[in-house]
């Protein structure tokens, strides 16, 4: 699609610096939204921020002026509760003006508690209940196979979310059909709403599970932008399998008192905590 911006080749120092800047911007704005609304899921916003920034500022091709261009790369935020991060990211990518971020969770806002494709450009499917994004991503990838479109499809799930069986139905289809232009990214922060994943319904060895389902698996530091860029930016034509990126992350990444602390799944900051976080997010 000529209207779509091709992603910049991976690996340049300037690109990595830009992505880091955008990730910081996403974290600061997501947290401000959560603070103002006194609602949200900031821990998961922070674990996903570097992944989102890498996709939108280093990997994906899209045009915010033509949000449903047929040849666009698709991103699905299957962990739909982390709206602070995805809204801040879409705003940074040019889908809507920055002033609108202040409406987060307000009555009748487009920036709802969970993303709605009919409210906001850049959202591909309405998520919120877990285990929904991956099957939809599989369908988008099959459509690419059937129509000969070269778009890529990226789905970001939480790790606790993988306890939903629908993901494994989708994984079977993706592996069976060798959907090489499909990438599943797992935000592996090891915390779900109530406790550690491994204390709740253990997922390890997660890489073996996806390999067994027919995926090429990469396990990387989900906050290492260089690694994210290299793995996510690699040409999928070189693969005959779908890609699963297990991004090892830290819930609450970037703010000392939030990191790896389950209470920040949907905890919201008081003024002192907000001020402290803003000092650290620089």
């Amino acid at each position: 699609m000529s209207t779509l911006t091709a992603s910049v080749p991976a690996g340049t120092g300037d690109r990595i610096a830009l992505i880091r800047d955008k990730a910081l911007w996403i974290r600061r704005h997501a947290f401000k939204m959560v603070f103002d609304a006194q609602l949200g899921h900031p821990g998961g916003d922070f674990s996903a921020a570097d992944i989102l920034a890498t996709l939108y500022f280093g990997v994906m091709r899209y045009d915010p002026a033509v949000p449903r261009a047929p040849g666009r790369d698709r991103f699905i935020m299957s962990k739909g509760h982390c709206t602070g991060a995805i809204y801040a990211c879409l705003c940074a990518a040019g889908y809507f003006p920055e002033a609108e971020l202040a409406t987060y969770m307000r009555p009748l806002t487009r920036l709802a508690g969970h993303p709605n494709r009919n409210y906001l450009p850049g959202i591909e499917t309405n998520t919120g209940p877990l285990g929904h994004g991956f099957p939809v991503g599989v369908g988008i990838a099959i459509a690419g196979q059937l129509t000969g479109s070269d778009h890529r499809t990226f789905v970001l799930t939480g790790d606790g979310e993988l306890q939903e069986g629908s993901n494994w139905e989708a994984a079977m289809t993706a592996g069976h059909r060798k959907l090489n232009r499909l990438t599943l990214i797992v935000d592996r922060n090891r915390l779900q709403q109530g406790a550690r994943t491994e204390e709740t319904a253990g997922l390890d060895p997660l890489d073996d599970k996806f390999r067994a389902f027919g995926f090429h698996v990469e396990m990387i530091d989900g906050h290492d932008v260089g690694a994210l860029l290299a793995v996510l930016g690699a040409d999928p034509a070189g693969r005959d399998k779908p890609l699963c990126v297990i991004a090892n992350t830290v819930k609450g990444k970037g703010v000392s008192f939030m990191e790896d602390n389950v209470s920040w799944h949907h905890g919201v900051p008081n003024p002192e905590q907000f001020a402290q976080a803003m000092k650290e997010l620089i």
């Binding site: 499917t125 309405n126 285990g131 990838a141 459509a143 059937l146 139905e169």
Partner: protein, 320 residues
């Protein structure tokens, strides 16, 4: 286009009309694909698959994934017809239908095969008597319950042309082709098949021809029964319901639960606008073991049963 008889003389399995019409549509529009849960045979899609193997997306026995994949195919510019036994399509994947299809408002056609008690002796796990109550709640999702092969084919053609989500029931219970003077498919409209001012019988799906037979019985007794084909559950034709209420007594008949389906929908309209005596025919609970015919008869889903319900409703009219 009429379907060839596949059962007893003069009776038709609506799946034949479904499959043939889908082929006709797919021939004209390369965007049309099917999505199935190992349900090629039960959906009578063998010929479709043979002709278009690539356009037959079989995800295996995985209904949540099937519906999500349908939403994704629509996102990618295709027009998916997701076809599976109604019980599994709507029961197993209800949250996907809610979030991925209706709330997301995407161009996916859901085809509920062998709905109601079509699987007879296989029992309530395989019956789909809940689907109408569940799915009529979603305003975005158009819900159509065709009465015969002609209406099944027309509903399919309309669904393919409509940009948005649709649910169509595709019955396997053999029904006669309804005798229509001027067949016209009017989206969102009920179809008055027989006029009458003593009582109105509102039916959908395979119950419609039984309602007509009941009206014949009643006519022999001097009772003029209106028969209305309420194939559209969503949107609901409120005008037709209110016009039916002018007879002073209403009977609803559906191959579904007596709670929340056509009877519930009509009761809502009447209670809010024009209360009249009403009888609701359908299934009161999970069904015991029995053939389709046995269960229909047991719960009054027969010409005799419908006529009896009509007499009862007439008897409850307020005398002035």
């Amino acid at each position: 286009m009429s379907a060839a008889p596949s059962t007893a003389a003069g009776r038709f399995d609506c799946r034949d009309a479904f499959a043939r019409t889908l082929e006709e549509l797919a021939e004209a529009d390369s965007r049309i694909v099917t999505v199935v849960n190992d349900s090629v045979g039960s959906s009578k899609l063998g010929a479709f698959k043979k002709r278009w193997p690539d356009r037959t997306v079989n995800v295996g026995i995985a209904e949540q994934n099937m519906v999500g994949v349908g939403a994704g195919l629509a996102n990618g510019g295709l027009v998916p017809f997701v076809s599976a036994a109604a019980c599994f399509l709507t029961g197993r994947a209800l949250e996907q239908i809610k979030a991925d299809i209706a709330y997301s408002n995407v161009n996916v056609k859901l085809c509920g095969q062998s709905p109601g008690i079509g699987y007879g002796e296989l029992g309530p796990t395989h019956h789909s008597i809940e689907d109408l109550a569940w799915l009529r709640l979603f305003r975005e999702l158009k819900v159509i319950v065709p009465a015969d092969p002609w209406e099944t084919a027309e509903a399919m053609r309309w669904a393919a042309a409509h940009d948005g989500p649709v649910f169509i029931r595709v019955s396997r219970f053999p029904v006669p082709a309804l005798d229509r003077a001027q067949p016209t498919f009017a989206p969102g409209k009920a179809e008055m098949l027989r006029s009458g001012e003593d009582v109105a019988i509102l039916a959908n799906g395979v119950m419609v021809h039984l309602a007509l037979a009941a009206a014949d019985q009643l006519a022999a007794e001097g009772v003029a029964a209106r028969v209305v084909n309420m194939s559209w559950m969503n949107p609901l034709d409120q005008d037709a319901i209110l016009a039916a209420a002018a007879t002073g007594a209403v009977v609803t008949v559906e191959e579904a639960s007596v709670r929340g389906g056509l009877g519930g929908a009509v009761a809502e309209v009447l209670a809010l606008n024009r209360p009249v005596p009403m009888e609701i025919l359908g299934f009161p609970d999970f069904c015991p073991t029995g053939s389709v015919k046995f269960l229909f008869d047991r719960y009054g889903l027969s010409a005799d049963g419908i006529a009896a319900a009509a007499r009862k409703a007439i008897g409850r009219k307020v005398r002035s």
